[in-house]
Amino acid sequence: MKYLLINQWKGLFRNRLFMILFSVFTITLLLTTYLGIIQNETQIAAQQEAQEHIREQWDEMNHGNPHQSAHFGSYAFKPSTVLNSIDEGINSVTGNVIRLEGHRQNDVMFSEASQSLLVSKFGKLKPSLLLQFIIPLFLIFLSFSSYTQERDTGRLKLLIIQGASLKQVIFSKIISIWLIGLFLLLVTTLIQLVFNMNQLDVDTFLRLILLLLSYSIYYLVLINITILLSLLLRSSTAALSLTIVIWVLWVVFLPKMIGNTVEKIEPLPTRVAFQKQMDIDRSQGIDGHNPSDQRQEELLKKTLTQYGVDSIEELPVNFRGILMQADEEYGNSVWDKHFGSLYLQLQKQKNIYQLSGIINPFASLQSLSMGTAGTDMFHHLSFLSQAESYRRELIKELNYKWRDGNWDKAFFKSIKDFEYKLPNFLEFANKYLLDTLFLLLWSCMLLFLTKYSSEKTSIT
């Protein structure tokens, strides 16, 4: 086996076309990873500048009363993660800014995709594009020709006569080609490590390792299936056609078709219907029997009793602040109901999509790639949830200050900016169990099938 492996490697490195392509891929990966890092840094700088600008406005503004400042509000900017330079996931289609203000939960605005003409349907030339689309195709052709060439030239028979078993030959090919894929993955990882050394923490390192492992398992699946088909189908043409068809189905066709089907199984409301329902609940009370004026009166009575006074004028605090906070809390329950069910639906959609990993390992890889890079929907929802929690705390603080009085410029300056904390990957790990399981299942199943087929196939 060891000699077969060495022999296989020698053969590959003697091939001029292979060497050219291998060098091109290595250089391209180096370049795209580096450019990805630069682009990410440019983005982070632009975002920091915008954030500082908004903060400056807050500090310099003439705050009338705290509730006025609640209307003035703030903005939460969605930050780029370090690994965004490998896989930007959903970041180009979701917006990157949310207005945080009193009385309403807003949505993210200004997606990159809406700011220009359509350029690429498959995304930017980031390492993920190379690792998911281009390198796999290179590995497919390498795997396909490595076996069929041996068979068509009769070299396979020679190897078997010399004492090697077909199983050994097949697995030496799988391992040698897989190592090439692994090398390219390591190049990407190393560049990330070198250029992001100062931002590297345990979590990022773990994410990077898991990203590398996910891709390496996927490459094993891909190489295995290609060699298995070349082994099973006598005609090289049919084997290549089928492998390409499978690749197209996995990478291009199924993700789109399953995505569409999932949206049919678990449909989302239209924005107008969603808004209308929230407006109704906001105006009529969440149970439909609690109009706002009645609530206001109830609150006044409760407050007067609490402070032991008879009229609003006798209150030692500003009732408007109490009222605004109560209104805010009522609004929050409406947002929780509607945005909560929307986010739940989105998560259900994602879970159904993850199930497609059973027929499409690419879906599992894509999910793991975005997940480990911190650029998938779960991370996006975490950003939205953190931004909303910040908004609620901010408005509460402002309303309570309005209630208690005694505010000054120092108070407004003391209010902290929103800071997004990227969730620790281990907290999210259970969300990717299905993806991991399916990838492992695919690789084990194919390894077993290849082993079985190589034992059963006779070379005559």
């Binding site: 682009q39 440019t42 983005q43 632009a46 915008a50 600008h53 406005q57 003439n62 006025q68 003035f72 959903i90 289609v93 207005r99 949505d107 993210v108 605005m109 200004f110 997606s111 990159e112 809406s114 700011q115 220009s116 003409l117 359509l118 350029v119 690429s120 349907k121 498959f122 995304g123 930017k124 030339l125 980031k126 594009l129 689309f133 281009i134 052709f141 396909f144 020709s145 068509d152 090289s236 043409t237 290549l240 056609s241 068809v245 197209v248 993700p255 789109k256 995505g259 569409n260 999932v262 949206e263 989302l268 924005r271 107008v272 219907a273 959609q349 994602k350 999509y353 975005m370 996006h380």
Partner: protein
Amino acid sequence: MRFSNVFLFEFNHFKRSRSKLITYLIFLFACIYSIYSGFDLQHKQFNTIDNIQLDQKKQVMQVSNFFLNLSIEPDAIDILGYIPTYGIKKPSPLFPLGIGQAEQYGYYKKITTWSSTYDNDMVEELANPERLVNGNIDFSFLVIFLLPILLIIFTYNIRGYEQDARFEKLIAIQCGSIRKWVFIRFLFYLLLLILTVIGFVIAVSIMNNAIIDYMGEISSLILLLSSYIVFFGLIFYLIILKSHGSSTIAFKMMSVWLLFCIIIPGSVHQIASMVYPVHYMTDYLDANRKETYEVFDLPNDSLYFKLLDVYPDLEQTQYAQNNSINQKFVRNAISAIVNDMNKRAISKIEDKNEEKNQFVRASYWFNPVSFIQNKWNSYISTDYYAYRDYRIEIQAILDKKLELLNFEAWNDKTVSKLTYETYLKDLKVSLD
């Protein structure tokens, strides 16, 4: 051998080749599915628009009926506030042929006096962002990205197979010219694919009664997709002529596909993002927040002069003779001033977007796939510019609304049913 025979032989070979036939049928199925998805999305958009217009109609009827019981005409300022105003972008009848960038933008917007074309509700419909990343199986995607792969599957073993089996010379003896023999065989698949997609384009146009009204767009689309298929066909034909062996041919063809469909557009996209990073629209955020609040804090006389900057003709109105602002008109005056500030900030955003678009367009000579995509989307009104025009239309309605609110009020106008109907027309309220 006569060339018509080669053509017929290829037809017979295609019929008998199970793998090619199945691949073709999968493609046909995908086309039907994509068109069905397009129709589905189109119907969904129409339904949403219909519901909005029904609501709008109900509200308009309420106000119209209100006029029947009136003895004195109400003030324009009160009536104009009750006109439900929407900006709506109806999907083109050719929409099932390509969703384009439609899922990146909203297609309806309630226009209030505080609206702007970069409001929260201008963003895309509620959708799963991961699905948006993967995109839709739309017909344009199938033709632009999958059809070249289909062409590869159909043609990579033309001559390659004969070379692998070492009887290419036999073909040369039988046919005389290998080039012509390859050409005729290749032509069969090229024609098959061109006719297939043209068939789908015409079918959708007939189903949506667009053949006559959209003749220009349909013929341009047919010309565009035929040229695109021929472009790939030509490259693949040259690869067949210049290469040896089916696996080498397949490898080269796939590399060309990767280059044109993924690598070049991806590189342009990446470079465009570096040159023009996602902008956070701070000018707009400023206008929308800080500057708006500053306007709110202005005394009435300053507001008056600011409003005159926006509407110089307002000086001729009845109330303007007092050189001050009537307290009743303050809110509309502020929204007109804010709208003017928003417009200035938005024009900067649009200029930045245009710079990026120019950068993308400059790449078209080596990036034909992006050119084809955007051209295709423009025929179907789902490209960036179709939605920019929609934003312009919304802005025009908003401007008209604010102008009416200010001028009619400052001229102390009252409203009859007839005037009300004129307002509806001015504000493009559809009552069909």
